[in-house]
């Protein structure tokens, strides 16, 4: 089932390629998990109450403008 069982030999190419690939995947995944976790925390904390239509968030205005 795994591709590595059919006449497969590890060489430096694999090390570099997959090393970089997984590094990128891990960075993306970690950042995503962080964002999700923080959002959940924010959602259930008072800071981000549902009724924020009238709330003023202490956020720098310019910071969000770019997104």
């Amino acid at each position: 089932m795994w591709p590595t069982i059919f006449e497969f030999s590890w060489d430096t190419g694999h090390m570099i390629f997959f090393g970089v690939f997984y590094a990128v995947v891990i960075i993306i995944a970690t950042s995503l998990v962080y964002a999700f976790a923080k959002s959940i925390v924010d959602t259930f904390s008072n800071n981000g109450s549902f009724d924020d239509r009238h709330a003023h968030k202490p956020m720098d205005k310019n910071e969000t403008l770019g997104g």
Binding site: I16, V24, V25, A35, M59, G67
Partner: protein
């Protein structure tokens, strides 16, 4: 518009008018969907490709839109990492354009391979020595990154902001956007380069084979450079076109000029290196393989391609955009950016089509390729997909942060 209260309601055209605009593009999209269905159901015999032209208009367009989509990663890099703050006005639009380009390219690639259901084999049985593997891995990952960069834009929508989780998600993602910008830059750097390397390593195709920096193909770096030169040009064009169509001011005029200037400077650097590459290739690489320079340019893929790529769509727009008075004039700005983009398309065209047209076998002749309507329909569908997505994004999302202020 950090919170709901100070987010102004933007003026948009009436729904019927918008639907009319969309319907045209949807029709085009449906035509493309029919073409795609034919190609998937009946096979690639529906295309104009053959055993000589194994890559056709799809790969040309793929390479071209990926190069043009480089605006997203490059402006992201400049804005988030190098802190070029003037880009704030259109970074959102650049991300959407990039997303469109990459998703469109991947969609087109899926139809282009003979066995789309086996597409995942290139991940599963990855051959790490192949440039194409690198391209496939990086493009897929980068599309993922672009999607993440797109999310904060979507969550700014007024309705979506009402859902607290999504709103927080958008804000948190935005907060760490510099990470994604860096990852995106890294990925883009490699796949833009690998797309060039894909052809540069074909030592059996003397037209595109390049040696150069050590053993690495030159084209690797040339493709990166040309992509980051063309990306901002397309962003400028798209913003300008949106302003014209919506008849609203979306960004400060100097911002467009600055972007165009950036594009022109990069284009000049690219052209110098490309000229050096071409001269070296024509005088050393090609003769070593038994080819004279003129052997590569025969009707209909004649010298005009090289001329067009270098002068008409290279040097000319670079000079136009380098003159401050010209780039401040809308007409010359558009001509300059359009020609820059066309130059890149032409470059990608010659790397796919002409590479394959040049006979390698001594007893073969120059062959000519002409796409069928099915191929064109899918190209049209990708463009209309882009227009539709961008229109929707413009209408429902807050793409241009200064719009309210400028039209106030």
């Amino acid at each position: 518009m950090s919170s709901q209260t100070d987010m102004p309601t933007l003026q948009r055209c009436s729904a019927p008018k918008f639907l009319l605009w969309l319907s045209f593009w949807v029709l085009l999209l449906l035509w493309g969907a029919y073409g795609a269905f034919l190609c998937l159901y009946k096979g690639l015999n529906q295309t104009g490709m053959n055993n000589y032209f194994v890559f056709g208009v799809w790969i040309t367009v793929d390479l071209a839109i990926i190069a043009l989509g480089a605006g997203a990663f490059f402006s992201g890099f400049l804005f988030y990492v190098l802190r070029f703050n003037f880009l704030k006005e259109l970074i959102g639009a650049a991300v959407v354009v990039g997303f469109i380009c990459y998703s469109g390219a991947i969609g087109m690639l899926t139809i282009d391979i003979g066995q789309p259901l086996r597409g995942y084999f290139s991940f599963w049985h990855a051959n790490v020595h192949s440039m194409l593997t690198e391209v496939i891995f990086c493009i897929t990952l980068y599309l993922f990154v672009l999607t993440i960069e797109f999310v904060p834009l979507i969550t700014e929508n007024r309705r979506i902001r009402e859902m607290p989780f999504l709103r927080h998600l958008g804000e948190n993602l935005h907060g760490i956007m510099v990470v994604f910008a860096l990852v995106g830059t890294f990925l883009s750097f490699f796949h833009q380069g690998s797309l060039g390397g894909m052809f540069g390593t074909l030592f059996a195709r003397p037209f595109s084979y390049r040696t150069g920096v050590a053993i690495w193909p030159w084209t690797f770096f040339l493709f990166i450079l040309s992509a980051i030169a063309a990306g901002p040009a397309l962003t400028t064009l798209v913003v300008w076109a949106t302003q014209k169509i919506t008849r609203r001011r979306l960004v400060n005029r100097p911002t467009l000029s600055r972007l165009a200037k950036l594009s022109a400077i990069l284009l000049v650097i690219y052209l110098v290196l490309k000229a050096a590459d071409t001269i070296y290739w024509a005088n050393f690489t090609a003769p070593e393989m038994g080819f004279r320079f003129t052997d590569f340019y025969k009707s209909p893929y004649g010298m005009w391609l090289l001329f067009g790529e270098f002068y008409l769509f290279g040097l000319v727009p670079a000079i136009i955009l380098l003159i401050p008075r010209a780039r401040d004039n809308d007409f010359w700005l558009v001509i300059g950016c359009l020609f820059t983009c066309m130059g890149i398309v032409l470059n990608r065209f010659s790397f796919t089509i002409q590479t394959l047209a040049v006979p390698v076998m001594p007893f073969e002749k120059f062959v000519v390729y002409s796409p069928t309507w099915q191929e064109w329909s899918i190209v049209a569908a990708v463009i209309s997909y882009g227009v539709i997505l961008f229109s929707l994004a413009y209408r429902y999302l807050h793409l241009f942060p200064r719009e309210a202020e400028l039209n106030g």
